[in-house]
Homo-oligomer: 340 residues x 4
């Protein structure tokens, strides 16, 4: 970090900053400029509380130099991480082939789930999404089928070979969900539920980590770091739209996150164009754009009867639309030297 | 809700919307305008998934009319809620007197906590804040003292009479924290941790609920509704700054939330100017502004040695600064016919 | 619009709203629901001040139904608009071929401009960008070469056949810039400089209109409407990134604007990945994503010596990088049945 | 600025940065840390394009140290600026007394303006606001009375002694508006209309500069710098709400801007709670909060018949409400050792 002193800071104020730097085991390097004096702090200050320096007399601001995450960083691991999606189809995210995960927002019943699962598999998906435990904004809304939903997901895997990706919303459910699922999804609202991150880190199954709706990329990577620091390196980073002032979409899909995350991290990046727009008519073009931008995976909401979907009807595409989208996705993937 | 049809929607499309409205037990009222046909939906649709209508052919958009929360609403309860803060000082939030809660970001040790507790009590605080379990963005940062910290908080209450307000970050901690605390704080990162909201709702102790950093007021009130729907009506709504593009503050403190929440809800409103700005030099003026805007309570970070605080040094004021601030707060409170 | 009355609004309050509706020449339709009474307003209220209804006693809120723009809307003109870029290469934006505009942020001197112009033409660009009048945040920064820069742009057109796209920042410059340029660019900071919009509308040359950095799509289309309402239908809508809380980019490029603008408007859409990210290393992938999303044009900053660029060095790519990008863009364009 | 090299940057990359630093006449100071090498740049780089360094091989990022504005800064001028509002009442902004400016959004006719002017004067206002040239988002909306409106404003000044504050929206209007007005208002949409800023700087009359709806404070102060650099030091900074994801308000009023602007600049700060919320029922509490936060002035929309206002009815208060608000404002002002 660099501690910038105020214009006219006194020598004793500078000395005091130096003393504080040394107290926490780091080295100082004082630079007297024509406009400001700055104290450059030398050493690894990733785990130090930089904010304390801001409160010191004579300090104008503190500028961090090092990103605080390590295991998620390309500095620590150069080769890209490939995460298996489970099932018998051998789906992966992070390899040359874009891994497509599709399915309903919520598991609603056996007929619904199996019909959708077969159709998305036919169209080229390798993973099946479907919520059994639903984090709902409204306490009076449908909260998911619970374990019964997990059983149906496992059945759908048996019938289709698709890997099962499903959300876990509480520490006490981790064991249960892990019993049925191939990939544990941590939702945007739980991206900073640190106990949950720790629990899925300890469980060990691959994790699809969604970016919080107003998380910075640094916070996102620190959330991944929580999971990885417990020994679980199989983390997929999922951009699902951020909250902005825009009102024609539910969220603003920030696709530049794809190349930026690839630049700083070895973890694969998945795009969720369904949550990322909230409008089924925008999903198709955002899938194509995501693949063109270099996304390693897609997760897409598909429902066989969106008008009667229990959740998220507005952003679900039909299996027929999905099949058509997959044809377009494959063409774009080929144009950027990938497959789908 | 009102379902707005596209320009040129066909009669059969309109009929189909009407059919879907009736399917969910509501009444329709079709209005043929000169520019658009709209289907007004009559009845309580608060718990219906409105989004499904957006996916129907011929529909342009769906406009909600009713706010989805009930128990948090002034429509259901006209008289304002007053929440007790515990301890022997009789502190309350929601009454004519502004309830001030103060203390360190984290409990660090006995000497630190007791010194601060005595000083903030002297200055006029009625509640003591202090984190024993800390939700930290960085997995390598100090995570709090745990139960030992709770014991120290209880000791400080015994010595000073201040009510104890402390954060609970996981369902499995609720019982433990409730054993020591007077008020359970749910942090911004957990505002949509619905299992935690349910658990603190069932526990029954007063709750200080912080607004998520990008939560709308509707989402904020629905989070309160989760707690209230479990039988716990003692909820304080705490505005602590929202995430915007502004970069001179850690968060943008949205003080218009105070009169707006008072307009739509009977729950008392607390302002956190420490988190809400992230800069100790902005806390004083934001305390005064909050009280002038009608806030029912304040929660303020105070540390006896900010330069060595383990967490959030940059936004902590000293006990001496706090005492001075309290004198200013009392004057402003009097000017708006309240006390502090 | 729909005027939603408060719960418990009196009959005389409802009658008063009805009276106000009729005063402005519209029809009312009162719907008494179980929870709320709403007054549906029938007729074209696009140019009425809806906000006045919000202030009326007993009114809870006013919900607009009709978008306020007309000429920019697909309701008024179904066929897509194709805008010519000028020069002798026959470049267009809005046709099957994606129109690529490239060049330096600022015109700096003859050698620089001609070298870049020749190289981007070789690589496949059909338009040349380059600022002669620069809107600079800092009053002490380089403000552009002025008319001398315009002369160089015209010279570059003569030598290469590229159409010239350059920014006009003041009403009094419109005539001068139009003398040299093929396309007048209105920058993001001037998107709501209504006098300038009117002036370029009256001038008649094609306009590249940049989205304001926090403009909604409705405001963006209303800005286009200003130009079109003066008889100039040759407007290109340019998404150049919006201001959000994200800090790894200069702006967040909102690519879902492409399909959404295509859905509601007949005007072509151009993407600016240079401004839209602010980082040269993100430009390549965002160009590909933009084309995959359906963009009709791209505008890209290219500099032959970014380290010594007078403006925007950080987001400029070299001519060599640009040539490589164009090859990738052509492949993606083909994959979505277009050319580039 | 500090140029941070990538981990593993080569010596020749570092040397190249040093060379570039020297090329622009500044000094370098290389610090080899354990994790990164940084090149501290010594000297005044306020007017240098820092972004060019970002494009250099081996550079990770560039961190600015100095704020780019000078004349607006407290480093250059310690004593606070007091701006006269004109008229015969001696109103000022920046002195111990809070200067209140009130009046209609638009001048509509003589009777309306004079009635409002007399009533706001009675209640304690010292300035009269009222738009004669209106920047309207919608080209079909009322655009203001033009010069006729300016004449009415001058008449109202004659009758009441109030200083006249009115908006100028184009360079070519500056002379005309200055002929009638005491204070030239530059609106939020024109905060970065640099030609207009220059023109009002050269004109010399006091300026009320509104913050752009997504401007940072640095951009805001640079806009003030444009005006001041032309010799006009009488600039009032007006916070009028910023654009965020919040939807219950038209804008989010960022009151922490008051103490922050006071901390870094000597210019007085005015708050616009009408634009800053967009809801008349929020104006009262935000006025009180603004004064408690230390605002030097307020600008408030008052209309004698909001239901029939031609513009901004929803955010206008009545003269009766204004008079009551002024009584509350005076009490809060006294509580923070000021008057109103």
């Amino acid at each position: 970090m660099v501690v910038v002193m105020k214009s006219g800071a006194s020598q004793s104020q500078i000395d005091h900053v130096v003393k504080l730097v040394r107290e926490i085991g780091l080295k100082d390097h004082v630079i007297v400029g024509t406009e400001r004096t700055v104290v450059a702090v030398i050493g690894d200050d990733r785990n130090k509380d930089r904010s304390r320096f801001e409160t010191v007399d004579g300090v104008e601001k503190v500028v961090p130099i090092l990103a605080p995450y390590k295991m998620a960083s390309k500095e620590v691991k150069k080769e890209r991480t490939v995460v298996p999606l489970g099932g018998t189809l051998g789906g992966k995210v992070g390899s040359q082939k874009v891994g497509v995960i599709a399915g309903p927002c919520s598991v609603e019943n056996k007929a619904q789930l199996l019909e959708i699962a077969h159709m998305v598999k036919e169209a080229g998906a390798v993973g099946l999404r479907g919520g059994a435990f639903k984090p709902r904004t409204n306490p009076y809304s449908f909260q998911g089928m619970g374990e019964k939903g997990l059983e149906l997901l496992a059945l759908a895997r048996e019938e289709t070979g698709l890997g099962v990706v499903t959300e876990v919303i509480a520490v006490e459910q981790v064991k249960l969900v892990a019993k049925y699922a191939d990939v544990l999804q941590v939702g945007a609202r739980n991206m900073q539920n640190f106990n949950l991150l720790t629990a899925v880190g300890e469980e060990g199954k691959p994790v699809l980590l969604k970016r919080g709706m107003s998380a910075t990329l640094e916070e996102f990577l620190l959330a991944a770091e929580y999971i990885m620091s417990r020994g679980n390196g199989n983390v997929m980073l999922c951009e699902r739209g951020i909250r902005t002032y825009e009102e024609y979409v539910r969220n603003t899909l920030a696709l530049a996150a794809v190349p930026e995350l690839h630049r700083v991290s070895h973890l694969p990046v998945v795009i969720d164009p369904s949550q990322g727009t909230g409008k089924s008519y925008l999903v198709d073009s955002m899938c194509r754009a995501a693949v063109a931008a270099g996304a390693d995976g897609l997760i897409i909401e598909v429902h066989n009867d969106p008008e009667h979907a229990l959740t998220d009807g507005a952003q679900s595409v039909t299996p027929q639309q999905f099949a058509e989208m997959m044809r377009a996705i494959k063409r774009v993937a080929a144009a950027v030297d990938r497959e789908a």
